[in-house]
Amino acid sequence: MKTLRLLAVGWYYQFKMISRSPFEGIGQVIYPLFFATVAFFIFRASESPRTLLYASLGAAVMGMWSATSTTAGNAMQRERWHGTLESLVATPPHFGLVLLPITLAMSTIGIYCLVATLALGRFVFGIDLTVEHPLLFALAIVGSVASFGSLGFLFAVSFVRFRAAWALGNLFEYPVWLIGGFLVPLVLLPPWVRPISWVLAPTWGMSAIREAALGGSPLPDLLLCLGLGGVYIGLGLAMLERVLSAARKRGALSLS
């Protein structure tokens, strides 16, 4: 109970901080709309309205992923600039419980990306947004946000130790669009890429959202997505003590 409360309060204040940043906010407004517009122009040759919904959902998840991958690194960098990283590390809880709400708050912003993208598709390009399983669709979104946040957590662990690791988040942003099957079906990719796709939660999150919207069975994909999220958290926690110890040894916590 105490742990859940700590996670909830941490998420609330971190989310409050991010949502108050006009600079970061502008990026979150523009990028998803840009992705959606590009996706629409690529796929509008198709006559099928379901193809356009397929593309629109892909663009929406691209925005969600970008919000997590790039901002997870920025979040740690922000803690360093503000001089709050040391203050957080010096608190008694396991640092994982302090860090996880920060990355979950980042991925929550991704929900906005999804809503904005779908709204643009509906009102500007007239895409039919009929969702076959609304409840499962909502569950798939929440599950994706949680697992994206977990992957952001894994990134953030390395950002604690390495100041320049924020670049890692940017590096992962574009390849995952491709290998996560956001716009191009995975079957079109070379066979050697597929195992990489399988270990990425965004692949399964994307698939679950599409299955729920287009009328398939999203539960297996959703469970895989959540399972991978759990694995990321486990890996992150296992690495965190070692990473923190290295940062304390090198005096890297106070560097900005």
């Binding site: 040391e86 203050s87 010096a90 608190t91």
Partner: protein, 322 residues
């Protein structure tokens, strides 16, 4: 048993220069620091910038690992039991950084109250009483980005006390504050000591350490060069004399020339608006005024005075390594 004890603490940083041909070197920030702080004591760690004060305090609050040596807080080892140490200490860093500027003062405290495990029912009254203590009552709902440096500093103090820790570490808490703000903050620190907290205060202001501390350790170049009550430290130079010479346009190399004179204990220069003050300490029975004037090579000299040494002179003598 001391509440805080440091035993032969060393801390070395590895740093590099150059881009293509990197040269690595070790910088010894702390070299064998040993001290103990008793329950309820206000202990000052006094030294110039770069002396190793912050490095020492960061090892004690578990943010840095010592290269060698041991440190314990309330019996818990800072390396082996960092979480037990963190539960029992509060710390305050000087400067404006370290607060979430997009959150209000209240939200900053609320977030850290949760992190420090303050029971939910106690959070609101605790925050209210701390806002009262540090004089931020009425401004707590404003975002901290609009706070003055002094207000941020006071918010730091409130945050460090949220979980009512028995031991408090204050790292140059008055740095950069205006005189009134610094005086108010010193009064707050004194009230914490009156409330029975064990406090380690680092500062480079001699008068601050003199006014607040029960005992002081003077640290310079990573080593403790003197330790005792303010009275003990004064006595280390108590028998000497200080000659102050006001000079308009100090000749180059004067410190080295005066230091080489026989009988000189320490030399320092202070900037005083258009002039500089050459401050020379000598034993009581040594008269060097004319000799000192002779080394000035005809520079424009103003007021000359002789006086008894103060605690600041003791500090200058200690940190100049004489």
């Amino acid at each position: 048993m001391p509440v805080v004890e440091a035993q032969d603490l060393h801390r070395t940083y590895r740093t590099s220069t150059g881009t293509l041909r990197r040269k690595w070197m070790d910088v010894e920030a702390v070299r064998g620091v040993t001290f103990g702080i008793e329950r309820g004591e206000l202990f000052g760690l006094l030294g110039p910038n770069g002396a190793g004060k912050t490095t020492t305090i960061k090892m004690l609050i578990t943010l840095l690992l010592p290269t060698s040596g041991t440190a314990r807080v309330l019996g818990y080892d800072v390396v082996d039991d960092p979480r037990e140490v963190r539960k029992r200490i509060g710390y305050v860093f000087g400067g404006e950084r370290g607060v979430y500027e997009r959150l209000s003062g209240y939200d900053n405290l609320r977030y850290f109250a949760e992190l420090y495990g303050v029971p939910p029912k106690e959070i609101r009254p605790r925050i209210e009483s701390l806002l009262e203590l540090v004089g931020l009552k009425g401004r707590e709902q404003e975002r901290t980005e609009g706070y003055s440096r002094g207000m941020k500093q006071r918010l730091h103090i409130a945050r460090g006390l949220l979980h009512d820790p028995p031991v408090v570490f204050l790292d140059e808490p008055t740095i950069g504050l205006d005189p009134i703000g610094a005086r108010e903050l010193r009064a707050t620190i004194a009230s914490l000591a009156d409330a029975g907290k064990t406090i380690l205060l680092t500062t480079h202001y001699m008068f601050e350490a003199d006014a607040l501390c029960d005992r002081i350790a003077v640290i310079t170049r990573g080593e403790i060069v003197a330790q005792g009550t303010p009275g003990d430290l004064k006595r280390t130079v108590g028998a000497g004399t200080v000659v102050e010479v006001e000079v308009f346009g100090m000749p180059e190399g004067i410190v080295e020339r005066v230091r080489d004179l026989e009988g000189v204990t320490s030399v320092s220069i202070e900037e005083r608006e258009q002039a500089q003050m050459l401050i020379v300490q000598t034993p009581t029975d040594v008269e060097l005024t004319h000799t000192i004037l002779g080394t000035l090579n005809g520079a424009n000299v103003g007021r000359i005075s002789r006086r008894e040494p103060t605690l600041e002179d003791a500090y200058v003598a200690l940190v100049s390594g004489e």
